[in-house]
Subunit: 562 residues, 2 copies
């Protein structure tokens, strides 16, 4: 990545996706699904083109002009220091006005690339070279960026406005502006499911939310309505009567399809598994040095009973067994689409899918009821022990292949890096995609800053611990004196399955004696799993630019009331 | 355990075994092997009785008189503070003299239990109650402890002498003393294999030794002669022509036996695997607070190509397949015997043995030649990714069972504990036996205290990293400023096998720029594996009374020569 672009990127919070181009409405998607005849890829491409002109725009996350680095920086500073941050797209008397037809004519490098936002017209030509998404940006040339901001609500951010305005060259004719305004577009988030108010959003569009830790550790099985939500894109509306899951194997012409009823004919299998986002507890790592990603507390985790069919049973029917040697990966495609009509995608190593102890299931029930829309209705893959990002929701297609998924989320996200790697030096090809997660724990009660009562000389502490890869938690140690003395917590709830098929978290609690004279303590918790891996002590040495794998000791400072 | 006993135990370094009673010479074992007719257990028991009287004695690791706690402690202190540590068994004018016949008469609780050491006679009656090995001690009553000290050379220790002398009641008649002296006994270590002088012993009897780190990291495959040796007992002499491996399955009457030639008829399989002792790098943990165990540096690890037959192939013939549900463990018995004629033993979970990705093999070759005696000739089980202690050498028997091995090494050793657990509070039933090992790394060059040349502003650092459970090392980070800045090391050698079948270590190196003004730096290394587990930072918070799982950052302080 170019360094200036990355310096701009660093200014954007909660950002973990940068594929941007044309948007496709959900209704289009629905029509498309219905016409699906096995030639989906080509069909989607055509659909993209068809709807592209109506909804076209440029996704301007980071506006960068290579040769104007200092100019941009100083402009931004001026704008900020003066407190006069100019909102993007407001009519400016000092600039010329262009018609939409004129803007449309600036859609190639030869003619310069223009885009619009509200009443503003912008020349982004020199920005393209440094665009992380490469040539994709050209698909959106000559029209409005607004559809993209609908998909990625995260851009409602002063830094983006500032950068955008530095590229301003004119105003858009007001009549044309109306034609492009969002009122004339479908809001892809208009039909999101209703959410429980106990879920605290980390972002609204897409919806990402967690439960408060105090509630989280009350139940071994997290109620569906209170289960953390991690959506990368709008929740698709899926008609179960027309739903089909495709299974394709590389270099085999035959594609299998299954309706939900057909899937249900495979033997039913239930597992109890914890799913966790790679960014869980990111907000603590951010305190060391800012990172990019949703600001999760310790609640981006939950445990449920997942019921469905074994992926290995389904793959067997497609001719892929545990003896397969050539093919190495299973790719999953969601039915949720991004602005380029690309599905959410991820992959896991094939061995995990076909191994009899892998317990990968195509789940259609969550805690005994059909999976709610936010969690993947009607079918989601559950890959126990593996990072949430590979547990693809709204599963539309399974593709068995030699290589792993080429998706953004597999290749350029959800990877760990050394603390020395920053946005100037990062090379995503150098780290493997996160699969199994390391051991983690969190204190759920009390919370940071709480005032807690000392009862008979003791304070009560509780929390959870979990480890990926089918490892079981074997011990949780707690200290209130910085590690001088430790105590071993009691396990309040733990699944009986032994490793390597122990998929669920452990809930723990402990009564800790406190000295009468103490007014404040910092409680630390660390877990050890059945491979005797344990948590690192501090975030400083595991810091990474994406803020994933935040599994240092959980440290909570509280005031004591005697 | 009784607290005083444990306080005594704490004084004993390098101790990791406390089964003590009668000794059986290797020649007995050989005769026994030859007579082996499938009823081996009973036969060994008879053999034990037969030779017991000739070699009887009491294994007096920890002399404890419950009611004389303070007396003993103060005596020890006096002895130590005066600098007058009295060697055990020296003739004392102030005490009466007894004949061996008299000593022999004190072999039950009713008559008091006496033992001898050299010219000393000791009453250990009150010690028995707190004896970790329970009633086994009675088998050795009324005679000399010396045969046991031959087996466990580790007792040549001032603390043991001191404790022993506090129980002193008399002298042994000099003629009788000669009869019991070690010159008249078989030294079970008399026929140990010749070892390379490059192996630095951590203990001689049994033989335990490691290679210097500088040599260790020179080869991806460790030469057999330089491979660390971890023996718990004398190396057995095994005649390959009469060697047989027994396979027994719980609740099945049929016992299978295989000669080496018969074993070799199964398909041949080679894996490259690192084997590591659970106590590797223990000497660093000891600096925080003393622990019990051999004082290993970072060299109790090695990598070899192991060739043999898959255990799953052999078990299949015994009727145990990957579909087995009732039986859960595979126990391994060595042909090496302890003083009670008990074999070395350990077990692993059955799934690991039958899983097609488990890669457990009955190895008869190490780096292309028959396994050397020190490493398990003629057959050793290799359980890749699992702690060395389960990779049983001189394999005599395999037993598939519902429960894990009842051996000392499985039940009361090789387990991890919280830093808060000491010898007064330890409960070995509360921790699982170590199987998969956590991620570890070590700096092999330079070593602590080295004076190293700065070349063109850089210093060169190299080492190894490894993780259990088939995880692959994905990154090694190195810092010389306490973690303020990190650098990513280069991988010089790494096996190509992907997880979960990546069994071998990774050799790494790095050139680190150093400031001209620095005269001393502390180099830290930490590794991250494919589950993104990483090492804990310090030993303080992972300290455990047995000093196992010593996988904190490796920190090496060196002087710089500019």
């Amino acid at each position: 990545m170019n360094s200036l672009l990355k310096s701009v990127f660093r200014k954007l919070p909660n950002l973990n996706k940068f594929n941007y181009s044309r948007v496709i409405s959900r209704s289009c998607f629905q029509q498309d699904r219905e016409r699906n005849d096995g030639n989906r890829q080509n069909h989607y491409w055509k659909t993209s083109i068809m709807f592209g002109s109506a909804l076209s725009g440029v996704f301007v996350y980071y506006f960068y002009i290579k040769d104007r680095h200092k100019l941009i920086c100083s402009s931004l500073l001026d704008l900020s220091e003066n407190g006069n941050v100019i909102g993007p797209g407001i009519f400016r008397n000092d600039l010329p006005t262009y018609t939409l037809a004129e803007v449309n004519n600036h859609s190639t490098k030869d003619t310069k690339i223009w885009v619009t936002y509200k009443e503003g017209v912008y020349d982004i030509t020199d920005f393209i070279e440094g665009h992380p998404g490469g040539e994709q940006i050209l698909m959106a040339a000559g029209s409005s960026v607004e559809p993209f901001w609908l998909i990625y609500g995260i851009h409602e951010n002063p830094h983006v406005y500032e950068i955008l305005e530095t590229l301003r060259i004119g105003n858009l004719n007001r009549d044309d502006q109306k034609e492009l305004s969002i009122e004339n577009m479908n809001d892809p988030y208009a039909k999101e499911p209703r959410r429980h108010t106990a879920l605290k959003p980390a972002s609204v569009k897409p919806f990402n939310a967690e439960l408060s830790p105090q509630l989280l550790c009350e139940n071994f099985l997290t109620p569906n309505e209170l289960f953390y939500v991690r959506n990368h894109l709008p929740v698709p509306e899926i008609d179960v009567d027309t739903y089909e899951l495709e299974i394709e194997v590389e270099d085999k012409s035959k594609i299998l399809t299954f309706t939900l009823d057909e899937l249900k004919k495979f033997p039913k299998h239930t597992i109890t598994a914890t799913i966790m986002c790679a960014g869980n507890r990111r907000s603590e790592m951010t305190k060391v040095k800012p990172v990019k990603g949703l600001s999760w507390g310790p609640g981006a985790i939950g445990t449920a009973q997942w019921t469905g069919v074994r992926l290995r049973d389904v793959l067997k029917l497609a001719g892929v067994t545990d003896d397969e040697e050539r093919l190495k990966h299973v790719q999953f495609e969601g039915i949720d689409f991004d602005a380029t009509s690309k599905q959410y995608g991820a992959s896991i190593p094939l061995w995990k899918a076909v191994d009899k102890r892998g317990d990968v299931i195509l789940a259609y029930e969550m805690n005994g009821v059909p999976i709610p829309r936010d969690h993947g209705y009607p079918v989601r893959v559950i890959v126990p022990g593996i990072v949430g990002a590979r547990n693809v929701k709204w599963l539309g297609k399974i593709y068995v292949s030699e290589s792993e998924s080429s998706s953004h989320w597999q290749q350029n996200d959800y990877k760990g890096f050394s603390p020395c790697v920053d946005w100037d030096t990062v090379d995503f090809t150098k780290s493997p995609a996160i699969q199994e997660l390391p051991v983690i724990s969190a204190i759920c009660r009390p919370l940071e800053g709480d005032k807690i009562h000392v009862e008979d000389g003791f304070i009560n502490v509780k929390g959870y611990a979990w480890s990926g890869g089918g490892q079981k938690i074997v011990r949780v140690d707690v200290t209130i004196d910085g590690g001088k003395t430790w105590q071993v917590a009691n396990f309040d709830a733990q699944d009986s399955a032994p490793p390597p098929r122990h998929w669920a978290w452990t809930l723990w609690s402990i009564k800790i004696p406190v000295n009468n004279e103490l007014n404040e303590v910092e409680i630390w918790a660390k877990a050890t799993d059945s491979s005797y891996n344990t948590q690192p002590e501090n975030f400083e040495n595991i810091w990474n630019l994406r803020g994933v794998l935040s599994n240092a000791y959980h440290k909570v400072k509280v005031k004591l009331i005697h």
